[in-house]
Each structure stands twice: as structure tokens, then as C-alpha cells.
């Protein structure tokens, strides 16, 4: 087993033991902290597909995070009030079940990613960054100016959506749902990285002229990755709304997009567990430093600067060295 595999296993275990220990010690607050870590890590695993493997620096992934969040909020609201959400082509009156919410979140995010990707992936570099940002801002202002679903004030979820066989109101049950989804996304991400599709995607990041000369379309490869990436981040958004039992336009803000990028860079872009380390550190710093000062992001900035200057592979790169490709 490589050092990276060992480190990854250790991290997965640590994230699981943390809330178990907190529950045993009667400190449920730390369970919700670990849940936040798992959800942000999941959003990061999504972004890492595009940004880490594909080199697509999306500054608009908050759009998918927010779409997932609103999917949870809107479906739950309609289910509570028994107002039909759709009457055509089929009757649909929302849902307070997480698996339905995730499906809707993933499909809506996929559609948005198809739209955003089909246009933005025709550009590259700083133009790509700006177009993805612009799209996310459009979604942001759309959410703000949509009074039916709370507008600027956001939307509360009266009762956390349920999941068959579990009591999601219990912090530990909800944590386990988030944790299992994170692990599934990591397995998917690991398989994709080593697959033919992953090879084409990572090669297109390194040299798209070469990839096209082989007969593989970089655009189609990237678009598929971007859609998958948006779907995973969308599901994370749905969980985030359920965690807070609240969704607001701030989930779509450009700061949110920035935070997702930051936690990937912090952990190690293109590394399987990069987003996991990043999210754990991010939430931990927010908790520890946020207790000392409101300006805790100043310290985050200093740490990020250190990582960018001295540890380009992020924390994972610092601990186990550069990635090896077969």
C-alpha cells in the first residue's frame, strides 16, 4: 500500500471517529462540525473532478451547491404545505425524502452544468474563470429576486428531510448519511481518475493539442466531467441545506465558490483526498480561529499563501509527495 493510500485511510477513519467520540462524550455540537466537514468535502470532491483532474478552474461551483440547496428547500416546502410543484407532465407535490431530493438536486445541477459548461468550456484560462463566475452570479441574483422562495431572506426547512430507516433528526444518523455519500463519491472519483475517461481528462489538462491529435475531443471530455462535477456538488448542497435546515442565496455567492476552490488548493488539487483534508482543515480553522476573532479568514489567507508558495501539492503533497501516474 502506498503512503497516500495509508494517509487516505487514516483520514477517512479520523472523520468517522471524531463524531463517534463526540457522541460518546455527550458533545453533539462536534457531530454537526464533522457533518459540515463531510458535506464541504463532498462538494469539494465534485469540484475536484473538474478543477483537479480536468484543470478547469470553475469559479462558479456555488451555483450547483445552491441549486442542490434550493432543491432540498423547495421540495420540502411543497411537501409540507401539500402544494403541487408540478402538474404536468406528472403530478409532483415535492418530497420530504432525502433520496428524492438528491435525485432532483443531481438532475437540476446536471442541467445547469450542461448549460454553463457548453458555453464556458469553449474558452479557457481566465475567461473560463470569469464566465463560470458570471453564470453563478446570475443564479445568485435570480435566487435573490424570487420572492416565492424567500428571495433575499432564504427559505427555512421546518423539518429535516427524512431517509428510510433512519431518524435524520439525530445528529449521528444524519452524519452517517453524509459520510456514506462522501465515501461513495470518493470511490467514484477514484475509479474515474484511473479509468479511460480519467486518462483522457487528465491528458487534456496537460496538453489538449496532443489529445485532439489522437482523435479525442477535449471539449466533450471536459463537458462530461463538468456535468458529473456539478452533480456531486449539487447533492452536497442539498445535504448542506438539510444540515442548516435553511437555504439562502448566500449558498450561491461567489464567496462560496471561492471557499470551495480554497479548500481544494489547501488539501491538494487533483488528489483523491485533497478536498477531504481541505474541508477538515477549513472547518477546524473556522471553529478554532472563529472563536478568537471574526477576522479568522485573515489567518486562512496566510495559511493558503504558505501552501501556494511552499507546498504546491497542498497538504497531501506535503505529506506524501507528488502524484504518480502509472
Amino acid at each position: 500500500m502506498s503512503r497516500e493510500t495509508l494517509l487516505n485511510a487514516g483520514l477517512a477513519l479520523l472523520l468517522l471517529v471524531l463524531p463517534l467520540a463526540a457522541t460518546a462524550l455527550g458533545e453533539p455540537f462536534y457531530v454537526s462540525l464533522a457533518t459540515r466537514m463531510a458535506i464541504l468535502a463532498l462538494a469539494g470532491v465534485g469540484l475536484n473532478l473538474a478543477l483537479g483532474f480536468g484543470g478547469l478552474i470553475s469559479f462558479g461551483h456555488a451555483a450547483f451547491f445552491g441549486i442542490g440547496g434550493y432543491a432540498a428547500g423547495i421540495l420540502a416546502g411543497h411537501a409540507l404545505n401539500a402544494e403541487p410543484l408540478l402538474s404536468w407532465p406528472f403530478e409532483f407535490s415535492g418530497s420530504d425524502q432525502m433520496h428524492v431530493v438528491w435525485l432532483v438536486a443531481a438532475l437540476a445541477s446536471a442541467l445547469a452544468a450542461l448549460l454553463i459548461g457548453a458555453i464556458s468550456l469553449r474558452t479557457s484560462g481566465v475567461y473560463f474563470i470569469m464566465i463560470t463566475l458570471a453564470f453563478a452570479q446570475m443564479f445568485y441574483y435570480f435566487a435573490i429576486s424570487w420572492p416565492a422562495y424567500g428571495g433575499e431572506d432564504g427559505l427555512s426547512i421546518a423539518i429535516r428531510n427524512g431517509f428510510p430507516g433512519l431518524n435524520t433528526a439525530l445528529p449521528m444518523d444524519f452524519f452517517l448519511i453524509c459520510y456514506v455519500l462522501l465515501m461513495l463519491a470518493l470511490v467514484l472519483s477514484w475509479r474515474i481518475r484511473d479509468s479511460r475517461f480519467g486518462a483522457a481528462l487528465q491528458a487534456a489538462r496537460q496538453n489538449d493539442v496532443r489529445v485532439a491529435a489522437l482523435g479525442i475531443e477535449p471539449f466533450r471530455t471536459r463537458l462530461a466531467a463538468f456535468i458529473l462535477s456539478g452533480m456531486i456538488t449539487g447533492v452536497a448542497g442539498a445535504l448542506y441545506a438539510d444540515l442548516n435546515r435553511f437555504v439562502s442565496p448566500s449558498m450561491i455567492s461567489w464567496q462560496m465558490s471561492g471557499e470551495l476552490i480554497v479548500l481544494i488548493i489547501l488539501g491538494g488539487a487533483g488528489r483523491l483526498f485533497g478536498p477531504v483534508v481541505g474541508a477538515m482543515l477549513f472547518v477546524l480553522l473556522e471553529f478554532l480561529l472563529g472563536g478568537l476573532t471574526e477576522r479568522w479568514q485573515l489567518f486562512l489567507g496566510v495559511i493558503l499563501l504558505g501552501v501556494v508558495l511552499f507546498a504546491r501539492g497542498g497538504v497531501i503533497g506535503l505529506l506524501v509527495g507528488r502524484a504518480r501516474h502509472g
Binding site: R191, I192, D194, S195, R196, F197, G198, A199, A200, Q202, A203, Q206, N207, V209, R210, V211, A212, A213, L214, G215, I216, E217, T221, A224, A323, H325, G326
Partner: protein, 249 residues
């Protein structure tokens, strides 16, 4: 006579007032090596760019395997069997030599939308890739990242990638550039046998290799083809001697 594999008719490309390609017609027939020579800046790479689809010609047509491919993009032409190597090695630097070639095998199989199986355990990718690497003499550098290969080894890797595509025609842009005498000799032997698999349009500055290999030679100067013929005819052509081979008329 059978239609040529690659048939270029009256191709022109202008950059402003500069005519980089000026009414060029040439063809590539099954089983041959057709060498394209000319001084630096004559427009050889510009011509290759247009044939491969990276540059759009101002006018003229390109037919490949009996069909007009002028409107197709680079990837589509590659899928139809046009394999191009680059004058300056163009590789995926973080990938090992093996994975560089495996990507070509995967592209030939037309199967890049598979999301689960680990490519390193897929013998239908690794075996043809290792065979191609052995053929160019990189059999002992399989696991080395492309970025860590020497200049000459990268040139060999370019050839291995082209081989793995099993194309219907090769476009080789100065494959011997910077290779050293031993590497050039080995590559000359390889290309000599390769023409039976698919014809080769060869751009090359190494005149020993060109005259040893080419069935036909075309000479391009200032974007125009000034002479075309067998090696013996080109050697005897006085215009070529003045313009390119550096001999007084």
C-alpha cells in the same frame, strides 16, 4: 491507377500579405514515403497544420481516403486515420511513456467514455502500448514520466504514439530533429519498414535519411512547391540545388 491516400489540391494559406502556402498540390500514395523538404520558414509545418486540421486553409481542398476532409476538425481527421507527430514533442508530461501510448491505443479503440475500469489492469491497452514502445526502442523506459525522458527519447515516444494509432497515413514533422546519429539510423530503419503499413508524408532536414528513404521528394520554398520527383530527379534539378541544397547553379 488507384486514388491516392491523401490528395491535396491547390492549397493556399495567407497570413495578411504573406503567402505561407501558395497553390500547393501534392499527393501521398499507398506504400510510399513522400518527403517534403525545404529551408526553414518555407511553410512545411504550416502545410502539415492544414492537413491535420489545426489550421484552416484560405483555399483549396484536402481529400483523405477518397473523401473531402477540409471541413473536419483535428480530432475527426485523427479518428479517420491521419496520425501526426509534432516538430516539437507534444506529450502529456506527467504521464509515463506507457500511459502516453496507452492514451493513443484508447483513442484508436474509440472508447474514452468508460468510467470505472483501471486502465493499468487493461491488457487491451497496455499490451499494444508496450509493443509500440519496444518497437521504437523505449522498452526499458516504459514507466518513466514523459517529462523525465531525454530529448531523443521524447522524439521516439512521439513515433510510438503515432504507431499505436495504427493510422491510414502518417504525417511526420521532422521526426529525427535532434536525435543524434545513432537514433536517426535506427529510426530510418523503422520508417523504411513502416511504409508498408501506411504511407508517410515526411518532413525532414536530415538529407541522408531523406535520400535513403523517400520514394518521391517535393521541395517547398516560400510556400511553393518548386520541384517534385524521385530522389535522383531532385538531386539533378538545378533549381533545387540553387534554392536549397546550397550548391551554385
Amino acid at each position: 491507377m488507384a486514388e491516392p491516400v491523401l490528395d491535396i489540391r491547390r492549397l493556399s494559406k495567407s497570413f495578411g500579405a504573406l503567402k505561407a502556402t501558395d497553390d500547393v498540390s501534392l499527393d501521398l500514395r499507398a506504400g510510399e514515403i513522400h518527403a517534403l523538404i525545404g529551408p526553414n520558414g518555407a511553410g512545411k509545418t504550416t502545410l502539415i497544420q492544414q492537413i491535420s486540421g489545426a489550421l484552416k486553409p484560405s483555399s483549396g481542398s484536402i481529400r483523405f481516403l477518397g473523401e473531402d476532409v477540409s471541413a473536419l476538425d483535428v480530432a475527426e481527421r485523427a479518428r479517420r486515420g491521419l496520425a501526426r507527430t509534432f516538430q516539437i514533442s507534444s506529450l502529456t508530461p506527467e504521464f509515463s511513456a506507457l500511459r502516453n501510448v496507452m492514451l493513443a491505443v484508447q483513442a484508436r479503440q474509440g472508447s474514452s467514455f468508460r468510467f470505472f475500469r483501471d486502465v493499468m489492469t487493461d491488457a487491451s491497452l497496455t499490451e499494444p502500448a508496450i509493443a509500440a514502445l519496444s518497437r521504437v526502442g523505449l522498452g526499458d523506459r516504459v514507466r518513466t514520466p514523459a517529462a523525465e525522458l531525454s530529448h531523443g527519447e521524447r522524439r521516439q515516444l512521439e513515433i510510438a504514439i503515432a504507431l499505436a494509432l495504427r493510422p491510414k497515413a502518417f504525417l511526420l514533422d521532422e521526426p529525427m530533429a535532434g536525435m543524434g546519429p545513432e537514433g536517426s539510423r535506427a529510426l530510418t530503419v523503422l520508417l523504411d519498414g513502416l511504409r508498408a503499413e501506411a504511407p508517410i508524408l515526411l518532413i525532414e532536414h536530415d538529407m541522408d535519411a531523406v535520400f535513403a528513404l523517400a520514394d518521391r521528394i517535393s521541395v517547398i520554398v516560400y510556400g511553393r512547391i518548386i520541384a517534385s520527383g524521385t530522389a535522383a530527379e531532385i538531386r539533378a534539378d538545378s533549381a533545387v540545388r540553387v534554392a536549397y541544397l546550397g550548391e551554385p547553379g
